[in-house]
Assembly symmetry: C2
Homo-oligomer: 330 residues x 2
């Protein structure tokens, strides 16, 4: 099978290297007949696309290189596009994707780092760290005593690999975990799971709320001003989804009003967040520059293992675990 | 047995109440013959000390009420002073304490909350949160990618209940834990334990360093400028001990120079830290106002359980687990 790895030009932290590829192949000897090429420029891309069957690259590369209708001419033999991101909302609408080409996301690459980030955020909120760092900004020594996580209730919206890892950690510290997902299927690390349509009834119980769902037309604006109002007074919110999943301005208002105790967001609208934006300055809002889920030390190792697992499944005639359904968007 | 609880005047968050006392007695029916009194003023204190055998109070109350030589006249029947703090460095030197009076600390009351705080601090440092909150202060979106804890090396200085809880959490996330204690005895949650006298040899391995030892004449200035220099480049330091255990100024210099990646300190010299102090402003230094170990929701429950456990041990003729050795200071 002919596979091409297109790294972004000037990618310093996360380029997929021939050495990483070789190490991954050594872990998956059954795929030793893969023929690979690497490029980080237009010429290399064009040359490789003439015969590549599989493309592994970044969503921003896919977006830039395949305008609607162009793919069959550019890459006549392409059957699989594997993206190094878990959330492919930047590729919607999927009118550029021919029916015969399978789109894979990188769901699972982020679980370890993102799960630890989620736990960190819950612990920070339990200790009022967003308020404490705001006080540090103003050089005020203002003791605020926090609590342990045990016995508190966490609502996790989105039960993919990130939400699942977060739920598992939270339960390990004695939290009660209420999951919210599209289908509402039971989850081994949740005490209860509710459908997204029942979110209004779950929110009043959410002392802690973690958003880690994909951004789709269904989840855009999910945590709007009205729903923020349904959270209990003193609630704490973590956003690891996308800036468009909540109403940023309403979250800031709720912090200012004391309705919310604290927020930690790894995402913003827009990104990068410009200087002077209210999100930077609202006391109780901790802004993280979209780094919660990526660990340069382990990311490509997992990315390649996930790709190889999908290629093996396809070779065995099984469904590819990371297949994206363009009609759902994830 | 006659016991008196002296709360500080105007203590709002942590006063020990008759209701809490009653609930604790219900958990320890073998101590139901304790006769208790409560006060938060001078008059109530003086009246109770005429016949009290046990005093439960705050270190600042002990410090204020028993100047050297005064105790026998003020409290002729007193046999036990139980303090609600774990670290009693504020009571040194112990020349005010007659030989016949047993001093108990509150070691163990902090383990759950402090252990979670320690894990939070390690996760924050692994994600460069002190640098990220410093960038937020300046409204700069500067992605810095972090790592998972697994495989990294943590050195824990002080293996009391706080250090032990921290070591246990860190191991749960796959860290290698090197303990440092006075005696160097093996610890179930440490991969190795070294004596404090070997600290110089351990520091070069400490990607993460957690200070949680008592402040004594031996530990004052323990992490001085020279020892900070022995930490590896990019090291991350948590101080949950006392401000005097490290050289604050040298830590700030090492952050400014890029030798240290980040610090989170729950303690400062002096406390409260005044506005304008360098500690507030050094990028990479997160200042927490001495709240890491106290959870108002559970603190007094644990405090009373610890006291009752000690009283039962004494009644049974066994050593009191929380006995402080004035010659050691903890």
């Amino acid at each position: 099978m002919r596979i091409h790895v297109q790294n972004p030009a000037a990618e310093r932290l996360f380029p997929i290297t021939p050495a990483q590829w070789g190490a991954a192949l050594a872990r998956h000897p059954e795929l030793s007949d893969l023929r690979v090429s690497f490029a980080d420029n237009d010429h290399g891309f064009a040359a490789a696309m003439r015969d590549a069957e599989v493309l592994l690259t970044w969503t921003k590369e896919v977006k830039a290189r395949f305008p609607p209708g162009a793919l069959p001419d550019i890459a006549p033999h392409l059957r699989v596009i594997a993206c190094t991101s878990a959330g492919l909302d930047r590729l919607a609408p999927f009118d550029w994707l021919p029916d015969g080409v399978l789109l894979l996301n990188n769901r699972g690459a982020h679980a370890a780092k993102a799960g630890e980030f989620a736990l960190m955020a819950l612990l920070m909120l339990a200790s009022h760290m967003p308020r404490i760092t705001a006080a540090q900004r103003e050089e005020r020594w203002e003791p605020r005593f926090g609590s342990v996580l045990g016995g508190r209730t966490l609502c996790v919206v989105g039960l993919g690999t990130i939400g699942g890892a977060a739920a598992r950690h939270a339960r390990g510290f004695g939290m009660r975990v209420l999951g919210v997902s599209r289908g509402g299927a039971p989850h081994p690390d949740c005490d209860e799971v509710h459908r997204t349509t029942a979110l209004d009834e779950v929110l009043p119980h959410a002392e802690f709320l973690l958003l880690c769902c994909p951004l789709t037309e269904e989840t855009r604006g999910l945590l709007d001003r009205r729903r923020i109002g349904r959270l209990p007074v003193g609630a704490k919110v973590v956003n690891m989804a996308r800036g468009a999943v909540w109403d940023q301005d309403a979250a800031c208002d709720a912090l200012d009003a004391g309705h919310l105790d604290g927020c930690i967001t790894d995402v913003a609208l827009p990104e990068p967040l410009p200087p002077g934006h209210r999100l930077w300055r609202t006391p109780g809002m901790t802004v993280v520059p979209h780094v919660s889920s990526d660990d340069p030390g382990t990311y490509n190792v997992r990315t390649l293992d996930i790709l190889f697992g999908n290629l093996r499944a396809m070779r065995d005639g099984k469904p590819a675990p990371n297949r994206v359904d363009p009609s759902r968007g994830y």
